[in-house]
Symmetry: C2
């Protein structure tokens, strides 16, 4: 499917020349922005979002070359192959079908001889039924009371996407249920949630594809003990989201309900599967969850069908490759000017860095260029008062600014300034990308700004469930498009295995010592032995180790 070695493509080589050109003074953003048509030529709308890349360091020639690169790399064909169920996750011989979880269209997607679209519909129907039963008091706690708290037990892909979506749509949370996330194995995480919930009316949603994730198992065991200590019946308080036949889907272990996950939906792409579906529907109501899915579907369709030059996530992916491989930026910030989108950045940080932090092509050859960048960020205007000093006068990095046209709270004019808080927020959102791009010359060296800092601006009309879904699917599509350009596999994650293997060895030592206080760690390397001694001693030997 991938035609030639990326670095040997003529487009790849010409892009380096183009990047060199962008270093010339007449290609400074200050100059590019003098073109009165800059915005109309370097912005697109589609899939319900607006995408302005007028402040990226690129001109028409560069953009044309990027489009040629996308064509040479067959990225749109690969995207189609993905949504149609081809096993494009080659290293694991799996499909990647997160788009099927929100496919309401009349189409078939075959997987191992079965059309999975009705399978996804059936899971949604089950979620709807279960959630309505909870909301209507037909399913109640073991003491017969309506549930008031939901604890999502899951980590990584079983957690971050749901946290983002729940935060973004929290104005719709009118079901009287509080949502908690128990992700970290750190006992502080459990201890704090235990002190906040009403044990008697808490529903625990255990999410793990294998149901053997160490952190999730440890926390599930604590949850069981916590309930039993309070005379509650855990089986009446637990729902699982897991693979068919996993230890969490064991008919001899009765629970309230089990919803299935599939190997063709990776954790970090699973928000629109039962992973997000169960907690989000409980928290927001199934109808809002479905609206969220329909927004994501709209962006999927846009990503799949919009022509190359109109395709928002594909253009965003090309610009990201441009900034990374050709202009040399190693990191990218995502700055939503909307507090409810605060958890978008940690979600995309996982989605993107776990997908694209790879060094091998899909066929196992070492890549000869940089792959994924570091993603970080905090909401604006907070970020302006935090790390933007470095953005303006230190090393530059590209930024995705995200704006929401209409806030969930209306009005609230601050009497002192005749400007509402929302308008004040927007005054900053309009100014920052421009200040970064333009810079400012000044005789005082401390007030001199180089400018030429690239950014995009993405607009949502409001924080409706549809728009949150669109934004989610935009970043998912952007992420895989980038991988398709590089011909890396955005769906495996072998990089997390080595740490797990080493942890198995350390855990074994801990178990031995727990059983035998005389067990010494002499079999381990001196550094690991030092730390093992430290935790069993309960103090740091502040002399030399």
């Amino acid at each position: 499917m991938f035609p030639a070695k990326l670095t040997e493509l003529p487009q790849w080589k010409r892009l380096f020349k183009e990047a060199e050109k962008m270093g010339q003074p007449e290609k400074h953003l200050r100059r590019l922005l003098q073109d009165q048509n800059r915005l109309s030529e370097f912005s697109r709308s589609g899939g319900g979002l607006f995408f302005d890349f007028s402040r990226q360091r690129i001109d028409q020639a560069g953009l044309r070359l990027l489009f040629e690169l996308a064509e040479a790399c067959n990225v749109q064909q690969t995207f189609s192959a993905m949504i149609n169920g081809e096993k494009i996750n080659r290293s694991e011989n799996r499909a990647a079908l997160h788009t099927a979880t929100r496919c309401f269209a009349n189409k078939k997607v075959m997987q191992n001889g079965e059309d999975i679209i009705p399978v996804m519909q059936a899971i949604r129907d089950n979620i709807k039924k279960f959630v309505e039963d909870v909301h209507n008091g037909r399913i109640v706690s073991s003491t017969g009371k309506p549930f008031t708290d939901i604890v999502v037990v899951g980590i990584g892909g079983s957690y971050l996407g749901t946290e983002f979506a729940a935060g973004a749509m929290r104005f719709y949370a009118d079901k009287g249920m509080k949502l908690h996330f128990l992700s970290n194995v750190d006992i502080h995480n459990f201890g704090e949630i235990a002190s906040e919930i009403h044990a008697e009316t808490t529903l625990w949603i255990i999410i793990s594809k294998s149901y053997t994730t160490v952190e999730t198992t440890a926390n599930t065991n604590l949850a069981h003990a916590f309930m039993r200590d309070r005379g509650l019946s855990p089986e009446k308080h637990i729902v699982t989201v897991t693979s068919k036949g996993s230890p969490g889907d064991d008919p001899t272990n009765p629970i309230l309900a089990c919803f299935h996950m599939f190997d063709y939906i990776g954790g970090r792409y699973s928000v629109t599967s039962a992973v997000g579906g169960v907690p989000l529907s409980l928290y927001l109501g199934f109808d809002r969850y479905e609206r969220f899915l329909r927004g994501a579907e709209e962006m999927d369709q846009h990503a799949a069908e919009a022509p190359l030059k109109q395709n928002l996530p594909l253009i965003a992916a090309l610009l990201s490759v441009w900034n990374n491989n050709f202009l040399g930026y190693p990191a990218q910030a995502i700055i939503p000017y909307a507090s409810p989108l605060a958890k978008l950045t940690p979600h995309v940080q996982q989605l993107y860095m776990e997908s694209n932090g790879k060094s091998m092509t899909t066929t196992g050859a070492k890549v000869e260029h940089e792959t994924g960048v570091i993603i970080f960020g905090e909401p604006g205007t907070n970020a302006q008062h935090s790390f933007f000093q470095l953005a303006h006068q230190g090393r530059g990095f590209p930024i995705d600014f995200i704006g929401v046209v209409k806030p969930q709270y209306e009005g609230c004019c601050s009497s002192a300034s005749d400007v509402s808080n929302h308008q004040e927020l927007w005054a900053n959102l309009i100014s920052q990308p421009m200040a970064l791009a333009l810079g400012k010359t000044d005789e005082n060296p401390f007030k001199y700004f180089d400018g030429n800092r690239p950014s995009s601006t993405i607009l949502l009309e409001d924080l409706s469930p549809e728009n949150v879904g669109r934004l989610l699917a935009f970043y998912e599509a952007r992420t895989v498009f980038e991988a398709f350009i590089w011909n890396i596999n955005p769906f495996d994650q072998f990089g997390v295995e080595l740490g797990k293997t080493l942890a198995d060895g350390i855990r074994l030592e801990i178990k031995k010592r727990n059983k035998d206080p005389k067990h010494a760690f002499t079999g381990k390397d001196p550094i690991s032995a030092f730390y093992l001694d430290t935790i069993f001693n309960g103090r740091i030997h502040l002399d030399s180790p």
Copy 2:
């Protein structure tokens, strides 16, 4: 004070050669770690913390050169000058005396002819008195009830440090007061807090040095309106932390209390001043706050007095410069294996990136090397299930791992594994730095790990207020030591000014349009005009702009 141009120092040039050497196979961390004395030679304890840099990509020769660099740059002398009140913030002609806020020693620190140590003591005494009056019910709400909620209104340096410290010490929050942070001008931030607090028993702490910070002013105005709408008297619910004589320190505007800030304590260094002191003392009790200060003081003394080769924050600074300028890493992660330290990273992100994101030396010459890196991170083990794929198999970046020997919650053995949650956390904390350092060869290219990823590990014995103070002061000292090596000014932040200036222009347009619906934005550049139109129209014109 700074002897020669940094890049012309012989040590600087020799460090490049040394860095080149580290690229050789026999200098891979896998090889360096075969030395059984690696940990004892490449770790230090001091100021109450333990600092292990055995997994940094450095050998004895490199370390010696870094120490020579520190001597050549007079960094310890500059640190002494700082704590003794010299005006080392040259661009603003100010001292930088955050260390004085926690100086309990019998010493004088003169500033403009006045010993400020008693001034700091007097502020602490005032805070103590005020807080005890609140806790004992001598100061009550305008309706005569004890306060239950605290809202800290402040942004950037008036917010992030306090959020970190409050989160880290929240187990000590036994005063029955909930703490909220109203930082962002985004109306969603105000709206959400307004829906959570008990208006009648809420104490608002307005924190702004100038008392003209746009975001803080807008939110303060909303708070006034919110209270008046509910028949409450704002003056009985408000405390300010601000400069003497600012609009927040106006005797004709009565409030509960005003505590002073000083121009010689920068926002991002102000946690141990009244900025953190008032909210933290209310939340935790004054005694815990004072213990926090004493921990910070201990680290200050260590940073000031420990010899170069034993000085934890100075060694950390040298390693950061090494990783950045010589090994070429543009970013650094901070990964606390302790959920309560989750907000350390955003705090240090501000502290470090705002301090060291500079391009000019203290004398206004353009620096000829990279300065501050990008700081990011999430707590472990969460980060392992998020972006660590990229750390292991994508581009490497240095990491500060932070471990806490004793958790605040005891025991909690998960019956399934005979390993407690805290031990499981530690099994991972021990394994990850090692996996990153060692890597793994494998015939399967997808399971191949380069290794040689550098990291440090910092240990706290527990989350006592003293240790949280030590950790805070460690990162403060590390930050300024780095700046002193580069001879940049870590105390100004002119980079945030340009965005503010442009926002003034946009705000003016908004005001005009608020008054006159016919006002058109034709005076602005086309991009700004497009966004202004968009927010006034309340929708995105999805046709071409």
